[in-house]
């Protein structure tokens, strides 16, 4: 029996190069130090994405885009067995995924893991973050309840304010001048086909790079002599720990999803005024608040334009940080990069809290 398996393995191996893959998988090591905890967050983000793909396909079984959208989500929530749970899991895991991706990004930033040779890891990661946010934005409209309707209506005003291309581009995404069933239909296509098709190859690239270069250690650790730097193999040692984290993530998600079932509001009605206290998802709150502040300081389109410009500029600088602080050196540049990171984090947190306080 063992001989048979061995020869079968040999047959497959000589054709697919399994040994090579195993060697590649075993090559990576994960540094062990007092900040090792932060190495888990990429894996946790990946876990929530898998949950999204899984629960998303389950929702596809009953979800109908277009004029029936609200009714189909109502049926999923109230009539189909455990439909409320699948929907709640998809919504909770979406939020947890966005949170994990943010934590992952900031931890990478402060560990300076974007430095050579990992620049492409940073850039592909930024793309994954943006697509994750777009996943959230496009998915949020799909139930077509009041909140979904107004969040999308307001959200689309942001690209709409861009000069020249803003309006035509936004109208294309909206499928008309107003948010309606045609918007749901195309957001649906974006959400379940286009975004996964963009996300997956970038994800594979991202993971391949991590495997190729291994995890970066933190600068203070890298200064120590090689003999004092500790690390464990990724495969299978760290993978086991990763899986333990996934189990925790699963439990946390399941707890939230079942104890706090995701709400379905009233059906969207364009003739009804927006309910008071309407606000975007938490991960868009900061941008929303900055626009609001800009709008109150500078009147009209100028404020909006300035807000968008500041945000875009910040994002570009953030993305280009490996070009500024790419060398493994201490000094002014390294310190400035850290200050820039702290500033960005502070602005995000403060404007988010501010946004919730003035609701």
């Amino acid at each position: 029996m063992a001989k048979l398996i061995a020869s079968l393995y040999g047959w497959v191996d000589s054709r697919l190069g399994l040994e090579e893959m195993l060697k590649f998988a075993k090559k990576k090591t994960v540094p062990v130090h007092k900040h090792s905890f932060w190495y888990y967050w990429g894996g946790i983000s990946l876990f929530f994405f898998i949950v999204q793909a899984f629960t998303g396909v389950l929702l596809l079984v009953y979800y109908r885009p277009g004029p029936d959208a609200y009714e189909s989500v109502r049926q999923i929530t109230y009539e189909i067995h455990f439909g409320w749970l699948i929907r709640s899991a998809h919504s909770w895991s979406a939020n947890l995924m966005v949170a994990s991706v943010f934590i992952h990004m900031f931890s990478v930033y402060f560990m300076k893991a974007y430095r050579a040779p990992r620049e492409f890891g940073w850039w592909s990661g930024m793309l994954l973050l943006i697509i994750t946010l777009l996943f959230g934005f496009s998915g949020y409209l799909l139930p077509m309840d009041e909140l979904a309707y107004f969040a999308t209506k307001v959200g689309l005003e942001i690209p709409n304010a861009l000069p020249i291309i803003g309006e035509p581009m936004t109208n294309l995404f909206r499928g008309g001048l107003e948010v309606g069933e045609l918007t749901v239909q195309r957001f649906f296509a974006l959400h379940v086909v286009v975004m996964p098709a963009l996300f997956l190859p970038i994800l594979v690239f991202h993971l391949w790079l991590v495997q190729k270069h291994g995890n970066a250690t933190i600068p203070s650790e890298a200064e120590k002599p090689k003999s004092e730097q500790k690390s464990i193999p990724f495969f299978p040692n760290f993978l086991m720990k990763d899986l333990a984290m996934w189990l925790i993530a699963l439990n946390v998600m399941a707890l939230f999803a079942s104890l706090f079932p995701w709400d379905l509001g009233e059906v969207a009605d364009p003739l009804k005024p927006a309910p008071t206290g309407i606000h975007p998802e938490w991960y868009f709150m900061s941008a929303f608040q900055v626009l609001k502040i800009m709008g109150s300081v500078f009147p009209g389109a100028l404020g909006e334009g300035l807000g968008i410009t500041i945000f875009t500029l910040g994002l570009v600088l953030w993305t280009l940080i490996p070009l500024y602080d790419g060398k493994h050196e201490k000094g002014r540049r390294a310190r400035n990069a850290t200050y820039f990171g702290l500033l960005a984090l502070a602005i995000l947190v403060i404007t988010t809290i501010w946004g919730y306080m003035v609701l």
Binding site: F82, G83, I86
Partner: protein, 164 residues
């Protein structure tokens, strides 16, 4: 004395090994059990979720009687289709003013059959099965048995079809 010592020693080693084994088995059983619980806690809701429409159509098959309010206006020698539970059914008003009703699902491979007035027969277009228009009995072609027949009651212009 010496022999005794050796004996104890061996015994001790044995129990150690035994403990180790049972501990390993215990861990295996524990992990297996917890794994099964997770599989169940995830698998059961998903199964029920996907099976929801099946349960619903099972409900509709529980129907035992269907009332067709305007069927009495059906001309002589004509037929109409209606839904009995979840399945298509056929009501025929014969030339001699008698009525028949049966499930319109071919007993061969489940195509929906049709009434052919000229030939006064029920015909299945899929593989040429033929049934008797009055009883639903299989006449020729592949069908292994007749169509499932219903009782028909006509009262005050209302036709009621019920399970036999």
């Amino acid at each position: 004395m010496n022999a005794n010592k050796t004996l104890t020693h061996t015994n001790g080693a044995d129990t150690d090994a035994g403990d180790l084994m049972s501990r390993r088995t215990f861990a295996k059983v524990l992990f297996g059990g917890v794994g099964l619980c997770y599989a169940g806690a995830i698998g059961y809701p998903i199964y029920r979720y996907l099976a929801s429409p099946i349960e619903r159509s099972m409900e509709t098959t529980k129907v035992s009687e269907v009332t067709l309010p305007d069927a009495a206006t059906l001309e002589l020698g004509a037929a109409m289709m209606f839904k009995f539970g979840s399945k298509p059914a056929m009501l025929i008003h014969h030339k001699d003013d008698t009525w028949s009703a049966m499930e319109a699902v071919c007993t061969h491979l489940a195509c929906t059959v049709q009434y052919q007035a000229e030939e006064n027969r029920i015909y299945c277009a899929c593989h040429g099965g033929v049934y008797d228009a009055k009883t639903g009995a299989a006449v020729s072609g592949p069908p292994p048995k007749g169509l499932k027949a219903f009782n028909v009651k006509v009262q005050d212009g209302t036709v009621t079809v019920s399970k036999v």
